[in-house]
Amino acid sequence: MIIRERAIKYGDNVDTDVIIPARYLNTTEDRELASHCFEGLDKDFKEKVKERKIIVAGYNFGCGSSREHAPLSIKTSGVKAVIAASFARIFFRNSINIGLPVMSSSEAAGFIQDGDDLEVDLSSGQIKDITQDKVFNVNPLPEFIQGIIKSGGYINFTRENLKK
């Protein structure tokens, strides 16, 4: 799958409390969660995401809580992929489990500038910065994890395996 979108860039240690503050966790409704996405970090996110749908961030993206509401609110906001220098463990798992594409590359995350035009090939792991004419190749995810992504998330993956 190839995604062509512009970048919204954030820094290091973007935590789950700024992605979706806990005071909004009294619902499971994904549209409502999305309406508060990044409220604690970037008041303009809602406007930006209309035009730009790849988040590029620094180290330890998604650190903090296990709340799946965080990747869910990002995905429901329309974000197509997150590229970060590194991901916090639980956020990484959650994103894969719900089908939000995530790619780790400190080189790409450091190089890409806010607003750059990007072309991301999820299956080959290639990230192309069209604006600055540069290509990055990311290590492919382990086969098992690719299987979850191919099934469209961990729930579908589990259903398929239970049928076998």
Partner: protein, 425 residues
């Protein structure tokens, strides 16, 4: 060498045991059977919705799924009430043995060990990042998401990447008032908030071998604040003593092999460690408490899955006894479980707290995550024995949280600014 004879860490051995193998290698992805699956009123509602999509109908084992309404319970608003109701109905329908209603519940990570629900050698997952707390019991225990919990509730199994291990060896005698909170804050300050990303942290050495279980729980609890997957202690006499009244002794003890290859080893001399405070907005932003004496505060919170246990209550009571909370401070004390509350009552701590001008709350995670029972307004500042000080963690995005252990929090309540016990006693 035969795989079976290769040295392994505790993390490897526990994961290997739970997938019926003698050996698993670091970095390998395994499917393992879990002993406990835990959810709360924030994370379980999503997990239930996902569980229903899988279609097994029943949970894999009604005795191994644990359900605790603790975050926004007692219900803080109508939406929270709906979530708790949804969870309660699920627990009833599934005949969940370990569902803890308000009145019996406590903060999950204090409650489960207290009731002997987690034992050494267990593999535990919970849809709460601080599930790593049970590492203090020699268990492999980690936070996961709601979808993970949905799958684990359906099948009793989950995928894990076998982590590499970083060993921390603590030596030297502790100064007065120093607890597990200071050791773990110091450690996170040393290695950073992603210093143990994806790794198992193994806590060892002569200093922690004398540490109380309460302090060990605090240390394991904050492994996630360094990015860690597990925060494990080896089982010793102190662990066994804690478990004596809570289990029939039927558990498996795993120890790391002496010749195992660690990712890294940190030798930490504790004799110079002073009372620690993590300043906004990262738990790694640690400083000596005595260097922050000019920081004024509005609120003090003593409680949470990190520091709401009886040792913490005792330290706070010792400092607050016969003294008054500063007139400009709201001091909120939250024993983590009903049993801790009752024990604090019997020991006279609750009377000390009330006489000194503190408010004492029923168990809840409430203020730690800016939910209820002590939300901060714009520009306000708290010192708290909780675990995170991210932007907006305890309320308004322009509020601030300083993290400390119970002695600094109690002393600060009296001083009206960040203080160490010697300044007020």
């Amino acid at each position: 060498m035969n795989d079976k004879n290769k040295p392994q860490t505790m993390a490897q051995k526990i994961l290997a045991y739970h997938c019926g193998r003698d050996y698993v290698s670091e970095g390998e992805i395994v499917n393992a059977d879990v002993d406990i699956v835990l959810g709360n009123d924030i994370t379980l509602p999503i997990a239930i919705e996902e569980f229903n999509k899988i279609g097994t109908g029943r949970v894999f084992d009604r005795e191994k799924v644990v359900v605790v309404p603790d975050h926004f319970a007692p219900n803080k608003d109508i939406k929270s009430a709906q979530q708790c109701k949804f969870m309660r109905e699920f627990a009833r329908k599934q005949d969940i043995k370990n569902y803890f209603e308000v009145g019996k519940m406590g903060i999950e990570h204090a409650l489960l060990p207290e009731l002997g629900l987690v034992l050494p050698g267990n593999l535990v997952v919970g849809a709460d990042s601080h599930t790593c707390t049970y590492g203090a019991l020699g268990a492999a225990s980690t936070g996961v998401g709601s979808t993970d919990v949905a799958v684990a509730m359906s099948t009793g199994r989950l995928w894990f990447m076998v982590p590499k291990t970083i060993k921390f060896i603590y030596s030297g005698s502790l100064k007065k008032w120093i607890t597990g909170k200071d050791l773990i804050l110091y450690t996170i300050g040393l290695i950073g908030v992603e210093g143990a990303l994806y790794k198992s942290m193994e806590f060892s050495g002569p200093t922690v071998s004398k540490l109380s279980m309460d302090s060990r729980f605090t240390m394991s609890n904050m492994a996630i604040e360094a990015g860690g997957k597990f925060g494990i202690f080896e089982v010793d006499g102190i662990t066994e003593e804690f478990l004596k009244s809570r289990s029939d002794g039927n558990y498996k003890i795993f120890r790391s092999d002496p010749d195992v290859g660690y990712e890294k080893i940190y030798n930490i001399d504790c004799s110079d460690i002073e009372l620690q405070v993590a300043a906004p907005h990262l738990p790694s932003n640690t400083k000596n408490a005595r260097d922050l004496a000019d920081i004024s505060i509005d609120q003090v919170v003593i409680g949470s899955c990190t520091n709401g246990r009886i040792e913490d209550m005792g330290i706070a009571a010792e400092i607050l006894n016969g003294r008054k909370v500063d007139g400009n401070i709201r001091a909120i004390i939250i024993p983590a479980t009903q049993n801790i509350y009752l024990e604090a009552l019997k020991k006279g701590y609750i009377e000390i707290f009330i006489n000194s001008g503190c408010v004492v709350s029923t168990p809840t995670c409430g203020p730690c995550l800016g939910g209820h029972m002590g939300v901060l307004a714009e520009g306000e500042r708290a010192i708290s024995t909780t675990n995170r000080n991210f932007v907006g963690r305890m309320g308004h995005p322009k509020s601030e949280v300083y993290l400390s252990g119970p002695s600094v929090a109690a002393a600060s309540a009296i001083a009206g600014r960040i203080a160490i016990p010697e300044e007020v006693m």
